[in-house]
Symmetry: C2
Subunit: 140 residues, 2 copies
């Protein structure tokens, strides 16, 4: 039997769970400096994008584009950073970060730049609700 | 008439041209610390992955996976970093970097870490030839 999917401990600690799309668990990094979502395909044992099956790759692309559109059109990000790194947390997870030309790290990448500045409960709830509403009724 | 594709000046300066796949121009960053390829879809005016047409997205995925397999199976990279950032060079370009647990930046991301250590002509030619050979005869 295949091993069931479980979210890596480090992602659990650093992020809020937003929702499950058909393929990916969507997380929100607890860092107010940038709207920073993480997509984790719920398939056990994956470490690289190239390991997605053809069907999962198509679904991943759809869910990634949806998240990108949310950051771009709902949150008016100036630029999107979409990255699968995983040097520290090997479980395949893809950062989707809305960047602004006035954000604190701009134009540098965000990783390792600052210790996270956590959300207030109201602020994280509002952003999570906005994402859930935006992605409701998507064909998936 | 659509504007023709031209490679951003900064990418021209920092990289070698490896080859044109059906969609992407493949570049090799002139930095010996890591095998660092960049895929640039040859479509004028793109800045984000989500802007690729459905057909181009499928082709991009194929070419990205091919590049990932090259890094993983030919060069034995321990981990792949695949990232579309573009905060400095807005033209859509996607980094495909083979990482090793003994590389100089590990486990940090590579951007902004060190000034590039350029290839000797022989070393860059050998790596470029290896990529060209590996990707020859791909259906595209």
């Amino acid at each position: 039997m295949d091993k069931p999917f479980t979210l890596h401990q480090r992602l659990q600690e650093d992020c809020f769970t937003v929702k499950d799309l058909p393929l990916c668990r969507v997380l929100l990094m607890n860092e107010t400096r940038y709207p920073w979502f993480i997509l984790v395909p719920r398939v056990a044992g994956l470490t690289e994008l190239m390991q997605l099956s053809d069907a999962d790759a198509r679904q991943y692309w759809f869910e990634s584009a949806l998240t990108q559109r949310f950051l771009s059109t709902e949150l008016n990000a100036d630029k999107l950073n979409v990255a699968a790194l995983g040097n520290v947390v090997p479980q395949l997870h893809v950062h989707h970060i809305g960047r602004f030309s006035h954000d604190e790290a701009w134009p540098a990448p965000v990783w390792g730049k600052f210790p996270a500045k956590p959300y207030s409960q109201d602020a994280s709830s509002a952003l999570i609700s906005q994402f859930i509403e935006y992605t409701q009724g998507e064909p998936g």
